[in-house]
Amino acid sequence: MKKVYAREEYCTGCGLCQVHCITAHSPYKDNIVKAYKKTFPRPLPRVIVEEQRPVSFALQCRHCEDAPCVKACITGAMQRDPATGVVNNDESRCVGCWTCILVCPHGAVARDERGKKAASKCDMCSGIHEVPACVAGCPNGALEYRGEREKEA
């Protein structure tokens, strides 16, 4: 399956990937201003930016083949879409027990405790955009969306 790969040599740590992620997961998926000014609470970014100058990179769920979060989920909310391979959390069934956070080896699942407690993670913009918003919105090409065996550009 296609995944998002970070290219840390091009990442400046600007955080625009997070801005585009938040926007894509708001009710105004194509409008940053409305997403930020009219959405309460604003969605959490599902991409993490790690930075310690001069190194920085963005990281989101790796959608592991043998995903520990799917196997460990106590409610069955965390499932892999058999058609796309994307690991998705059904937030309506998630109770916020954080077992997925306990087992995610990449630390790519976050707690969202602002409303109904639910685990928040990258959904590869499934059903929102063709290309994940973080990739499309990165000004430097520091995020690539490609198949596992395709060569880095």
């Binding site: 995944k3 790969y5 970070a6 993490i48 790690e50 930075e51 310690q52 190194v55 990179f57 990281l59 790796r62 959608h63 592991c64 083949e65 043998d66 995903a67 520990p68 196997k71 460990a72 106590i74 409610t75 069955g76 309506s92 069934r93 109770v95 916020g96 027990c97 954080w98 077992t99 997925c100 956070i101 306990l102 087992v103 995610c104 080896p105 990449h106 630390g107 699942v109 976050a110 707690r111 405790e113 596992e148």
Partner: protein, 419 residues
């Protein structure tokens, strides 16, 4: 191929999904003592507290059995195993033949012989029916006594407290959650619980249950008496090996299995809380009664039952649990004199993080309140990574990939994480 799975929880569902990866057509019969569609046992405390409704407790969607071509026999306990005739005999007399059998009967509450336990309003806290019965018995501001401050007793205490009950927890050890927390961490949780009105009696136990027809109180080992309207016995869970009791299937504490989850008898497998699988941290075979472990063992069993060659890489104790919004994450060994420990405590913030090492390998951790990205540590335990060069960074609450040695980090992040 005729598959029979006894049990209907995480290990059983793992097995169904494992079998169906390899064999789309073989006949699968799932036999359950409970009548319910597969549901999540850890959610019963959420159900009791009113945080989830029954339709959100289902571990898989309602069409799961149909979708996977499963014959589901619910509400009929399996009574015996005929290993020669290769069939499971149900209590009602029906017989289920099998070519491949999975025993996924889980655990059952351990209830010691305490005088007076035959009275009304005394419960265990294990199944959906347990909490349904507790729900019925609750009446106004009930006073509840819970025996045991382990994972189950503490979740029961939280749920009952949320419903307005006065709760006292009686515990033999000197602290809460003694199997997964050290004294420091135990004190932090106890404080949270006490702030919500839950009382604790430590280093003590119930000697006798008081009351006529119904429970009205307990007498403790030290002679003190406590009054209550209901009593919950939450001392522990033991493997439910009843089904194989009079069969040649080898049982130690749990059913003994190899890495393929085979019992050694032709076609018979076991997985989940009833089975003794490998503990990857302690290097022994033992029962690790937690859901993620049950699912993984079940899936491995299912794959092998369907003719694959899959090996269980070993599990270890791990728990993510919370009380009144206070989060706890633990894995592996909680510490001790044989280990190297690094810890950071902030009593005002109630945060605590301890990592436990042996020969520069991470073998355990305790994280209190701030559990962000804690799975990175679980991954390091699982993979047995030598963390010698960055171990002091593991206690940071913002521990991230930048704290890893560069090559290790790149390998993991850029490989795309096919863990």
């Amino acid at each position: 191929m005729e598959y029979c799975i006894v049990g209907n929880s995480a290990a059983a569902i793992g097995a169904v999904e494992g079998i169906r990866k390899r064999d789309k057509t073989g006949r699968i019969t799932v036999v359950s003592a409970e009548i319910y569609h597969t549901y999540s046992r850890p959610l019963i405390s959420y159900y009791l507290a009113g945080k989830v409704k029954i339709d959100k407790m289902y571990y898989r969607p309602l069409g799961f059995y149909e979708h996977n071509g499963i014959r589901f026999i619910g509400g009929k306990p399996a009574a015996a195993l005929d290993t020669k005739g290769r069939k499971v005999v149900l209590a009602c007399g029906d017989e289920i033949p099998y070519d491949r059998l999975l025993v996924a009967t889980g655990g059952k509450p351990f209830v010691p012989a305490i005088d007076g336990l035959d009275k009304k309003n005394i419960f265990t806290f294990h199944k959906l029916d347990d909490v349904k019965a507790i729900e019925k018995a609750l009446d106004g501001r009930a006073r509840a006594i819970i025996i045991g401050a382990g994972l189950i007793g503490m979740k029961a205490a939280e749920a009952l407290s949320c419903l307005g009950a006065e709760v006292i927890v009686v515990e033999l050890a000197n602290r809460v959650l003694s199997s997964i927390l050290d004294e420091q961490a135990g004190a932090l949780v106890r404080d949270v619980m006490e702030n919500h009105g839950i009382r604790f009696v430590f280093e003590n136990t119930v000697k006798r249950v008081l009351g006529e027809e119904r429970v009205t109180g307990v007498e403790l080992a030290d002679g003190n008496r406590l009054e209550c309207d209901l009593l919950i016995v939450a001392i522990g869970v033991i493997p439910n090996t009843d089904l194989v009791k009079n069969s040649p299937v080898p049982v130690n504490r749990g059913i003994v299995v190899n890495k393929k989850m085979e019992t050694g008898l032709p076609g018979i497998y076991a997985a989940g809380d009833v089975a003794e699988g490998d503990d990857a941290v302690l290097g022994v075979r033992r029962v690790i009664p937690i859901l993620p472990n049950a699912y993984r063992q079940g899936e491995i069993a299912g794959l092998n039952m369907a003719g694959d060659e899959a090996a269980f890489s070993g599990g270890f104790a791990m728990n993510a649990i919370g009380f009144f919004g206070y989060s706890i994450a633990t894995a592996g060994v909680p510490g001790g004199p044989d280990y190297e420990e690094l810890a950071v405590l902030d009593p005002d913030e109630r945060t605590y993080r301890k990592i436990v090492l042996k020969n520069n390998r991470l073998v355990g951790f305790i994280a209190m309140k701030d559990i962000n990205r804690i799975g990175m540590l679980t991954g390091l335990i699982q993979e047995g990574t030598n963390v010698g060069s960055f171990k002091e960074k593991l206690v940071k609450t913002d521990f991230g990939y930048l704290d890893w040695p560069c090559e290790l980090r790149r390998e993991r992040v850029l490989a795309g994480g096919g863990l």
